[in-house]
Symmetry: C2
């Protein structure tokens, strides 16, 4: 089986899921935590070398403040959960704005965690594509992405790592992110087998 | 009807079409010319303001030389066909390499053709995303893209205008580009109605 070396994850649909389940929109994010962990474990099982999660963006911070607070907290918790797994973790985003949670500053350097044998996990927090491009590609530690899996049915990047995504194959899952199931990940990998990778050639 | 202001067109599948029709791979490109013209006329009819065609890329020039010659010729012919329509035309690409057809140098400045009432048509010729990004976004005259329509079944950008495409919705058509039909374009616009445009917010 041809395994994508680096997979980008766009975990969309938390707010729609909350609404559909009779919750307030901002209550959806915490239901995205366990899916993130399950996905990471699947990726390790298949031998994926690098995963990048789309946490939240500079654009997202324009939303109502109870939503901003909720996704900030969920991202802090997600990073702390991932840290306990056997990974090489890096948080990437604009640390110079208010919207970046201070608790995550310590994770913005891979530091001692560089280890070729461990899966690399990048977590985008207060990320912005303009911020990324304007300063000579801030995310340059992130490698080219082979496949992007997006939950929630939309077929778009929404500003996700434009440079690393130029040749990525997009796999769209209609289900919302909190409804993550391991078989969705398996289906994505099965689909990837049928894509001819030409890197633009 | 909510019409995308700017549509990106990735006309993929010419070589697969040629093979399926008993022709040599390089003979497929000329069957993509009439589709391009038909699409342009549809876009004008619907009031689309800007169209960008993915002609060929720096990456594509690594292909066998008979293919390179064939897609260069097809792009020159396409630009000359489009010129005769009532459009504001601009060819964008790396003019400093051998692979850029000299006949198209005259089209790399919009010049007198700027006219707000005419549909803008951008045609990417010997385009490269690295070339574009490295020199401070060479394609800065090209506006944000609302929707990308790709023929040939692949769900990826293949290096197409990474900056302008950050928020674009992707619509994928399984049919190969020479099998273009007006109804595919109509279906793409109908699909676009159902996308909520948030620009990352």
């Amino acid at each position: 089986m041809r395994i994508p070396r680096h997979i980008g994850i766009i975990p969309d649909g938390n707010r729609r899921w909350a609404k559909a389940n009779g919750l307030k929109k901002e209550d959806g994010y915490e239901y995205g935590l366990t899916p993130g962990l399950k996905l990471l474990r699947e990726a390790k099982k298949y031998g994926v070398k690098e995963i990048t999660y789309y946490g939240f963006t500079v654009d997202n911070c324009k939303r109502p403040k109870e939503q901003v607070k909720a996704f900030q907290e969920a991202c802090v918790e997600a990073v702390k959960m991932i840290e306990k797994e056997d990974v090489s973790l890096l948080v990437i985003g604009n640390t110079e704005s208010e919207c970046f949670p201070k608790e995550l500053l310590a994770y913005t350097k891979r530091g001692n965690h560089i280890n070729q044998e461990k899966i690399r996990v990048n977590f985008l927090v207060n990320y912005g594509w303009e911020w990324d491009l304007n300063d000579g590609v801030k995310s340059k530690e992130v490698s080219r992405i082979d496949m992007i899996i997006r939950w929630g049915g939309m077929c778009r990047l929404s500003g996700f790592l434009p440079v690393q995504s130029v040749y990525a194959d997009f796999y769209i899952i209609k289900d919302l992110w909190p409804d993550f199931k391991e078989e969705q990940f398996a289906n994505a990998l099965a689909w990837y087998q049928k894509q001819d990778v030409t890197l633009g050639g």
